[in-house]
């Protein structure tokens, strides 16, 4: 076990996988000489050379398309999109080619591509640079959508992504790049897709989060404990495939569910999750499923306004109290 920041755990995953599989190469804006906007790829250019660590022009659609083509031809590319905010420019490639080619070609073509992107608000980058779009990508059949909340999962899930025959949208919350956590040293350590993680067992309420929102969920559980409420906290880890079974089993035990997410509430992933809980565990619920989400506005720059727009542990605790 080593104590690693999430960015270092991600880098370890990239290194180990590149050593293991010569078909893997990296492309992205400023991933080489600059070392990556969030320093995830720092040092990899020196270690692997410019054939396997390629700086690209600022051309999101183009580089994702090149990644798709290279994956179709037998390589294992990873494209880093700097941040999720710029992935809108590559949306067509992701949705119409990466996610569909296997199905449309009746299985003749596969697109084993990893697309990494930094996400989330909280850094006063304002509306264009603070998106949480995990739910958007989870909408599309044919993709894996992965969003770790800690260093060990970041490493295990990223390594797992390189061993998949499909395209994986790998989303990294910027607020937790610097958070340290224990990470297994085993180069074969993998975290399976579609296996949620029960981070805290409890009996009174189920709090579900993913990516950065797992952290206010955990802090809320600590607050609630002081009030004598025993919360179970579940980290979804991957939205597609979704481990709904673990969530439903928990809700059947606690009879209450709160979903926490940074993304907008309206039409967001929390709505999907809430619907699935209702479909599968309606008779076990003692209260309507609650959602604590980002507020339905473009992210404001001002520190206080931004804070108000994002879910906090107090918001989560309040939602739990309201349903007890």
């Amino acid at each position: 076990m080593a104590e690693l920041r999430m960015r270092d755990a991600l880098r370890e995953a990239l290194r180990e996988e590149m050593i293991r599989d010569p078909r893997i190469f990296l492309m992205g804006e400023d991933i080489g000489a600059y070392g990556g906007s969030y320093a995830v790829t720092k040092g990899l250019l020196d270690e692997f050379g410019e054939d396997r660590v390629k700086d690209t022009p600022i051309a999101e659609s183009g580089i994702v398309g090149v990644g798709i083509g290279a994956a179709m031809a037998g390589l294992r590319p990873m494209v880093e999109l700097m941040t999720i905010n710029f992935s809108f420019l590559a949306l067509d490639q992701i949705v119409n080619s990466a996610a569909k080619l296997h199905y449309m070609s009746n299985g003749q073509i596969s697109v084993p591509l990893v697309i990494r992107m930094a996400s989330g608000g909280g850094s006063q980058l304002a509306a264009t640079h603070s998106h949480s779009l995990e739910g958007l990508y989870a909408h599309f059949p044919g993709l894996n959508v992965v969003c770790p909340s800690n260093s060990a999962d970041a490493k295990g899930l990223l390594k797992r992504a390189f061993r998949d025959e499909n395209t994986t949208i790998f989303i990294e919350h910027t607020a937790i790049y610097g958070v340290k956590g224990e990470v297994p040293d085993d180069p074969d350590f993998l975290v399976e897709f579609g296996k949620a993680n029960i981070l805290r067992a409890g009996t009174d309420v189920t709090i579900v989060g993913y990516s950065g929102s797992v952290h206010p969920a955990l802090r809320a559980a600590a607050l609630l404990e002081e009030d004598g409420i025993d919360a179970e906290v579940i980290d979804l880890r991957t939205l597609r495939p979704l481990d709904i079974d673990t969530v439903v089993a928990s809700v059947k035990k606690t009879n209450r569910a709160v979903i926490v997410e940074d993304d907008w509430k309206f039409g967001g992933f929390g709505g999907e999750l809430s619907a699935q809980i209702m479909e599968r565990a309606f008779d076990w619920l003692d209260a309507p499923v609650a959602r604590v989400s980002g507020k339905d506005v473009p992210m404001p720059y001002n520190r206080n306004l931004e804070f108000a727009a994002l879910p906090s542990e107090e918001d989560v605790a309040e939602a739990v109290h309201a349903m007890m």
Partner: protein
């Protein structure tokens, strides 16, 4: 603004022989009749959805695809039946795909705009304008990184030039010296908009600005297309990076079966029909004593037979079972 003049290595491919010209003629006639038949099947309701016919442009597909080698790869746009046929994809299975049947090249899941036959290096028709240009660069990049001598032929229409992906792909391809032939079939229209009204310059001018050889050729002359594409294959496969061809051509039918064709005059179509590529090759061969009327009738009847057979095959093929709806959504994960 000056054009970068790329000096090309001298390369004069041998003239195609008798037998090869006969094959070009057969293929062009096959593409023509196949499309006429699909139009007919559309009006009968056997084919649905969008159907974009290729009639008029046959010399492009037959000239370009025959210049490729077995190991080369192809991506093209949604007007793709002709390209698939010229690559040797089974006509029966293409027709079955248009009928939406299990024996179709994509099992009835793709339809007219999304034909695939990986066994032939035919990696798809792409229905989002210009989306496949970056993919072609990726195919070229992969070949280069794997030290394989494979060229990617990327076929698209004049309408692609307005898309950002056109420019991103050309730039990346030159930067990374990927073996890609960008083959633009300029049929003068993107749906109903004349290309001259949607582009502020000439297409080869743009391509040359990205620092690659760019030529404009007569896309109604199969021999010229064949020769120029051979040059491109030679150039790309020897590590020089991409090559751009604009083939001037014309489509006889509407953009798709839904097109009322309000934007052009019948007279314009007639003018182009006078330069018909099949007629031109026929004349060329007859003048040189390579073909007589009997030989031509033989081509016609062999093609008619093949097209009728394709329809019979497609019609006999079953519909996909409803229990297959979720099949092959996700590829099986590898073991690493």
């Amino acid at each position: 603004m000056t054009h970068q003049q790329i000096s090309l290595p001298a390369f004069n491919p041998p003239e195609p022989g008798n037998e090869q010209l006969g094959m070009f003629l057969y293929q062009m006639q096959l593409l023509r009749r196949f499309e006429e038949k699909t139009g007919e099947m559309y009006t009968k309701g056997k084919i649905r959805g969008f159907l974009h016919l290729y009639t008029g442009q046959e010399a492009c597909a037959v000239g370009a695809l025959n210049a490729l080698r077995e190991q080369d790869r192809i991506v093209t746009h949604y007007r793709d039946h002709g390209h698939a046929l010229a690559r040797g994809v089974d006509a029966n299975r293409i027709m079955a795909e248009l009928f939406g049947r299990v024996d179709g090249v994509s099992g009835g899941r793709g339809g007219s705009m999304h034909l695939y036959d990986v066994s032939k290096g035919f990696l798809g028709g792409y229905a989002i304008v210009a989306a496949h240009l970056p993919l072609a660069v990726g195919l070229g990049l992969a070949a280069k990184m794997q030290n394989e001598d494979r060229v990617a032929l990327c076929i698209f229409g004049d309408g692609s030039v307005g898309e950002g992906e056109f420019h991103e792909a050309l730039n990346l391809s030159v930067l990374w010296k990927t073996p890609v032939i960008f083959f633009c079939e300029n049929n003068l229209y993107g749906m109903g908009v004349r290309f001259a009204e949607s582009l502020s310059t000439q297409i080869p001018t743009l391509a040359a600005a990205y620092n690659m050889p760019a030529v404009s050729i007569n896309g109604m002359d199969v021999l010229e297309v064949y020769r120029e594409t051979q040059k491109a294959v030679q150039y790309c496969s020897t590590g020089n990076g991409p090559y751009f061809i604009e083939a001037m051509t014309y489509r006889y039918r509407g953009h798709s079966m839904a097109d009322p064709e309000l934007y052009r005059l019948k007279d314009e179509i007639e003018q182009y029909r006078k330069r018909d590529a099949i007629e031109a090759l026929k004349q060329h061969m007859m003048e040189r004593g390579m073909l007589d009327e009997g030989g031509w009738q033989d081509v016609v009847s062999r093609v008619d037979h093949a097209v009728d057979e394709a329809v019979a095959f497609a019609d006999a093929s079953p519909e996909p079972g409803l229990d297959t709806l979720y099949d092959r959504l996700m590829a099986e994960p590898a073991n690493g």
